[in-house]
């Protein structure tokens, strides 16, 4: 196995088995893990405490018990998170960090059924005011305090600034990776790309950085081969389960960039420099744009994606619409119009973590490839 294959297979196995990653971390450091719900929680605070931040993104699952607690029109990802809560999947976590930028999360945060303590905090939506930074820094101060109590550690400013640097380094390396992956679709297919990115959620960040850095330099040493398929940009919350990515691959598509909340949105901006770490983390939210969960009066998501399409020489955009996600559904008609006006082709597919039959997705993707 080449070094590239080894790195990819290690990262894929971590992304497929978070539980083992948590156990390994415990063995190595003696410390446990803290769950991080989507979206945009300041993971750096957990990292600075020496604990492992673990992303909670649900999973492919049939839903039964969760029906008792959620309306049928709650988004697919939170249905699966609820189902897993009820199964006790998250009970080994020392705590769970719970941001609430959408209505579903707001409601769900008040009915956590696991046994771990939950720390809820709010992202301000009137984001462009200085007061928003102050408010959020204060929220983060409370998060830090609660974590200190639960984990019984002191989280110093110094450690936190250090963790921010570690995370910024990871963000930089990830941006480099996604750019490189676009040039090597024969090696980094959609599923591998996703696994390499997803492994971030279950690894101490500097370790992930080191592996992806090495992968990047191995990739760079290879010649770029011509790609005969079509290139697409993905947008939405997430592009799971893997079957969806396989369907893209089988129909000759390469993912050359993404605007997914689970992927590039998390690392396209660095945390800005400064001295007060909590203020720096808060400022990140102010500078962040192009996401359905962050109020944006200018509606810059469409233009940002169009730049992405241009920059990555993509043929089209694939909209991965999380089933029953209202923030994403509300954004869609706005950027869809902008795409139409600019002559950018887009495909709409539905992301449903409960599904086991992918015939509809296959038909849509095949038709789209025939259309392009």
């Amino acid at each position: 196995m080449s070094r590239i294959e080894t790195i990819i297979s290690e990262l894929s196995s971590i992304s497929n088995n978070p539980r083992k990653a948590m156990e390994d971390y415990k063995k190595e450091t003696g410390k446990g893990s803290v769950g991080v719900m989507p979206y945009y929680a300041p993971e750096e605070i957990i990292h600075a405490a020496g604990f492992l931040p673990v992303g909670i993104w649900g999973g492919q699952k049939s839903i039964s018990k969760a029906r008792a607690y959620l309306p049928p029109f709650a988004c697919s990802i939170m249905q699966s998170v609820m189902e897993m809560q009820l199964e006790g999947v998250y009970d080994d976590l020392e705590a769970v960090l719970f941001p609430v930028p959408c209505d579903t999360l707001k409601c769900l945060s008040q009915k956590w059924k696991g046994t771990s303590p939950v720390i809820v905090f709010t992202h301000p939506q009137n984001r462009k005011l200085e007061a928003a930074n102050k408010f959020l820094a204060e929220e983060y101060r409370l998060v830090r305090e609660k974590l200190e109590t639960i984990l019984n550690v002191k989280i110093t400013d110094e450690a936190l600034n250090q963790s921010i640097e570690t995370y910024n380094e990871n963000r930089k390396v990830m941006r480099e990776f996604t750019d490189l992956a676009a040039n090597y679709p024969q090696i980094i297919d959609p599923k591998k790309r996703h696994a390499i990115i997803k492994a971030r959620f279950f690894m101490e960040k500097s370790k992930h950085t080191a592996m992806v850095k090495e992968l990047n330099s191995e990739l760079k040493s290879l010649p770029v081969e011509a790609f005969t398929g079509k290139k697409v940009v993905l947008t939405g919350i997430m592009a799971e389960p893997n079957e969806v990515l396989d369907i893209l691959k089988d129909n000759g598509f390469a993912v050359v960039a993404d605007d997914l909340a689970q992927e590039s949105r998390l690392f396209r901006n660095d945390v800005p420099s400064g001295t007060d770490p909590l203020y720096r983390l808060a400022k990140w939210w102010q500078e962040f744009d192009g996401c359905s969960l962050a109020t944006d009066a200018k509606k810059s998501r469409g233009p940002m994606m169009m730049d992405m399409v241009k920059g990555s020489k993509a043929d089209a955009v694939v909209v991965c619409m999380m089933k029953f996600c209202d923030p994403e559904e509300f954004d869609y008609p706005i950027y869809y119009r902008q795409f139409e006006e600019a002559g950018i082709k887009s495909l709409f597919i539905e992301i449903d973590l409960e599904t086991t039959s992918f015939e509809q997705t296959k038909t849509r993707v095949q038709s789209f490839s025939e259309m392009l």
């Binding site: 509809q360 038709s367 259309m371």
Partner: protein, 261 residues
């Protein structure tokens, strides 16, 4: 030269045999779909009607939900592309296709050359599909083929939910027990199907000519309701159930001709 298009849907199987990319020699439909004996039977029927053998086909292309299970086919093409091809062949002025089949609703926008410009499909839900009408016809004890006639006599269409077949079914049952006339309920059912399909059409952009195909296009009550909702005339494709199979047969012809050039 003969080519064949096979369209295996969820609730029907269709075959078209085409001569020289222009003349339809056979266009057969059997009202059972993928996973049944339908595909084999319709294939045999079409061949016997045309007086031809499978070996006479220069190329066979499969489409539809069950396209990957057709062993006889040399290739598969999605039903969106085939539908567009077939409808454009029959109605060259078509700009928007509304295709309602057994379990899918699709709106397809065409460019002036008949190429697919954009398309939208329903979510995984039977509301607004042929299956929905099947359920309603059973509850109402009215034959599917008679639904349009009932609809034409409606005086005040009832309201029927377009979001969920199960809800709609219980709505219809309670309206029946409240004594609402079947005619009005059926008109409501048709409106409900139309609102689902028109939602997709609006997403695509509505431009004339609008052509309807798929099994449900045979129900003129649905066609009327769609036309009313879009406030535009709707053309029903000739023999609307076989348009995708026809498109597949045309693709097969073009591919053979392209290869022989």
């Amino acid at each position: 030269m003969f080519t064949m298009g096979i369209d295996i849907g969820s609730s029907s199987s269709k075959v078209v045999i085409l001569e020289d990319g222009a003349n339809i020699i056979a266009g057969e439909v059997i009202q059972i779909g993928t996973g049944s004996s339908g595909p084999k039977r319709v294939l045999d029927e079409a061949l016997s009607k045309a007086g031809l053998k499978l070996e006479d086909m220069a190329k066979i292309i499969a489409t539809g939900y069950g396209r990957s299970s057709v062993e006889e086919a040399h290739k598969q093409i999605s039903e969106i592309s085939c539908q567009a091809k077939g409808v454009f062949f029959l109605v060259p002025s078509a700009k928007l296709i509304i295709d309602i089949g057994g379990q899918d609703v699709k709106a397809i926008r065409l460019d002036s050359k008949g190429g697919v410009k954009q398309f939208f499909m329903n979510d995984k839900c039977a509301a607004g599909t042929g299956r929905f009408l099947d359920v309603m016809s059973r509850v109402l004890e009215v034959n599917l083929d008679d639904m349009a006639e009932y609809d034409a006599r409606a005086t005040e269409p009832a309201t029927v939910s377009s979001t969920c077949t199960v809800f709609a079914e219980s709505e219809v049952i309670s309206q029946l027990s409240n004594g609402v006339a079947k005619e009005n309920i059926i008109a409501g059912v048709h409106q409900s199907v139309a609102s689902k399909a028109c939602g997709l059409a609006y997403r695509c952009g509505v431009e004339e000519d609008i052509v309807m195909c798929g099994g449900v296009a045979k129900d003129l009550g649905v066609v009327r309701a769609i036309s009313k909702e879009l406030k535009k005339p709707v053309i029903v494709a000739p023999n609307p159930q076989i348009t995708a199979a026809l498109g597949a047969a045309i693709f097969a012809f073009e591919e053979v001709r392209g290869a022989n050039k």
